[in-house]
Symmetry: C2
Subunit: 451 residues, 2 copies
């Protein structure tokens, strides 16, 4: 009998896992279930649709269900919500949302790619028809439609993480008066303070009112179901449009009900083969915690690239292969108006918590030779361990050449380079693109004096 | 008695070596001799002065002799030409060019940083007053003055290497009718053929007439000493301005006379401490050959960054330290009009000559997510060894994000990453700066299928 591989979740990890499983075992019967209407789209690209950088939402979709079926040989069931797992009888319970009908599907191998869900404030009013998150293509389409139809003038963003930054720019593109309420002092809590301060300044430079230490207490609605005023610890804010960007957490309702092991961040913990604690069940993507290879700690770092890679590994192993996913260093970036903001490796706080003897050093340097027209300042913070002299992490920001330099630092971190090795790297010097001493070398030399 | 450290040559390696020696042994008497008037300037930046990107030649100078003396404690003797070395008596013979006087200077340690010299055609007419190379600041100043005063309309560049590319753009900036004569089929002989073809197309797109397989036979001068016509195997070319960009070779007259060991490229071969084959004599910079750590072969790769690093090592060791310079991977780039052209590691030809089982693969990908306005195509060629699966080298070109990606590949090459490891690198995805799969990952995945 054909091997039956079932995949739950259709965004990033799910389609990767299903496609890979089918490729590894073409005789397998691979079925993907997705509760929503769309699969395989670029959720990270949604802010650019909202901001009007890309106008056709089809450009955000990698695979329609039809294309995935045709090109990859995977059966795709959208609007099918998986409601339960029976790991003993190896069956899942699936609700067909169109027909509102329950059915059982047996599996030989099950892959959970249930993703993440947006955090909520836990306040009534969050369901207001002018209140959105950016956690699905549907939400992106709804925001854009709301903007086009109702021309909101005042936007309130609640939460100053990555998505909050991207939405601030997107809404300023529409010339909305934009206020961002954030619980902490500075935006983007995972970054170093200097970077966070630069982000705040960049927001303010582009007309975003950043309100720190703001705790939202109430969303007041009018009779039409629209939130019109937000009461927070810092005051009352009138709004025509409210974006919730409070971050995400792993969607593990199914996994927990099946008693699959989850970690302190609520994400599924798998082994390097993406196998969960329960026989024949794999997991991949944003529903998982992940090993950071820099400090070997479990973290929650939901990213599309990671999700796809884990999906491939889960899919291959479910189909009988022996693939391995060793973890990540963390390599992320965001555009905040004119600033490229990038982080690789672990933060100084994570490094301290992991027992490293942390040294940090920041420098500002030219991205290119000073007289070249495209030159801009680039700012680096390196995080190193005084005992091993290893580079553990870095923040880098500026208007030119920050993100791609972060990747170079990322490889150095992954390869466990010491600061001395970093300072000796053979990097390109050519006036139009890079100064005699690349900012990476300048920063390495500077922090090296303190090790 | 004070240790006497003498340094010959004032461009890149010399000032680095002298400064470092003085820092390591502040009691040493460190003297730098330079035959020309200027020291420590950015020779790589001269084309941008010629092209009018930077207008003040002072911006090209890192240290004047006075500043080097004051800030680094090094005695600087410009217009002092070193004419001989007596390694037995540990003395050098120096001509004071202003007074035309010879003097002997004893040394405890001698550092040769005599640099490179431009190759010549060996034809009379090369001394014509409208014939220039780009091997010194003086030549750069002379070209610019000639352009400003005599308004040449027709420029002829002889030699299609890096400097030829930069000068083609610089002269087109002045709207000169520009012809480039090159001996080979395609420009830039060290690069892969696809890259070289793209360079040729970029030249032609920007109005440079590229003439391949052209061997210059005669430079015909008028009665005022100006070359007016160049006769080549491909025809006769009228010219108001002639640039010789035939490449450089190590300047080792002094070293050879002192019987210091040189290699097949004519450069001084040192050990990892930058010590030459003769006691108490070190060498650094463009007068040296260098180990390429990818194939462990001696190469001639004259570069400012390398020169400075070797200078530091030579200076430290001359002053009693124990520094090491292990070699380079080769990391170079050039701007050819709108194209960033970069090379890291060894070429497919060098790889084959070194006995690797060479596989190459080229891909074209987006530099950013396709719908982002700054997106452009980027083209990668990876060079790998089929036996070890190691990445050996890469070419990368395009209008966006080629050079900095080359640095990421450079670290991978230096760390002996396999193609499989390269394909698993944790690289940043964020739509404004990098697509879901960075071109590096796409290329690694593609070549991986053939290993």
């Amino acid at each position: 009998m054909k091997q039956r591989i079932l995949v739950v979740g259709g965004l990033a990890a799910g389609p990767s896992a299903a496609s890979k499983a089918k490729r590894v075992n073409p005789n397998a019967d691979v079925t993907l279930f997705e509760g929503g209407e769309h699969i395989s789209y670029g959720i990270c690209e949604v802010p650019y649709y909202v901001g009007g950088i890309v106008n056709d939402p089809d450009h955000l979709i990698s695979y329609t269900p039809q294309r995935l079926e045709k090109e990859k040989g995977v059966k795709v069931k959208t609007l099918h919500l998986v409601e339960g797992i029976d790991p003993v009888r190896k069956k899942i319970v699936v609700r067909d949302l169109l027909r509102d009908k329950l059915a059982e599907h047996p599996y030989d191998k099950l892959i959970l790619a249930t993703g993440s869900m947006p955090r909520s404030l836990g306040l009534s009013g969050e369901k207001g028809r002018n209140v959105f998150n950016v956690k699905s293509l549907d939400q992106g389409l709804a925001i854009k439609q709301f903007i086009d139809q109702e021309h909101p003038r005042r936007a309130l963003i609640i939460g100053g993480g990555y998505i909050g930054m991207e939405l601030a720019e997107a809404l300023r593109n529409h010339e909305m008066q934009t206020t961002l309420l954030h619980r902490g002092d500075l935006p983007m809590s995972g970054l170093e303070n200097e970077t966070r301060l630069a982000v705040k300044q960049e927001l303010e430079k582009h007309g975003v009112a950043f309100v720190s230490r703001s705790h939202v207490q109430e969303l007041r609605s009018d009779t039409t179901g629209k939130v019109v005023e937000v009461m927070a610890s810092t005051g009352a804010y009138e709004a025509d449009l409210v974006i919730l960007s409070l971050g995400v957490e792993p969607q593990t309702t199914l996994a927990k009900a099946a008693r699959i092991r989850v970690g302190r961040y609520g994400g599924i913990q798998t082994d390097q083969r993406q196998a969960t604690s329960i026989d024949s069940i794999y997991a991949a993507g944003d529903c998982c915690e992940i090993r950071n290879v820099v400090n070997n700690a479990w973290m929650y770092i939901p990213l599309a690239t990671t999700a796809s890679k884990q999906g491939w590994v889960a899919g291959e192993n479910a189909a009988g292969g022996r693939a391995v996913f060793k973890g990540v260093i963390r390599a992320i970036a965001v555009k905040v108006f004119d600033q490229e903001i990038a982080q690789v490796g672990i933060s100084s706080q994570e490094a301290a918590e992991s027992g490293f003897d942390v040294v940090t050093e920041s420098i500002t340097a030219n991205s290119r030779v000073g007289f070249m027209p495209a030159n801009a300042k680039v700012h680096l913070t390196l995080i190193a361990d005084k005992r091993s002299k290893r580079l553990l992490g870095a923040n880098i920001f500026g208007e030119d050449g920050a993100v791609l330099r972060a990747n170079t630092l990322g490889v150095a971190i992954q390869q466990h380079l010491t600061i001395d090795q970093l300072a000796r790297l053979d990097l390109i010097y050519t006036p139009p693109y890079s100064p005699l001493w690349d900012p990476i070398l300048i920063a390495a030399n500077q922090i090296g004096k303190r090790l």
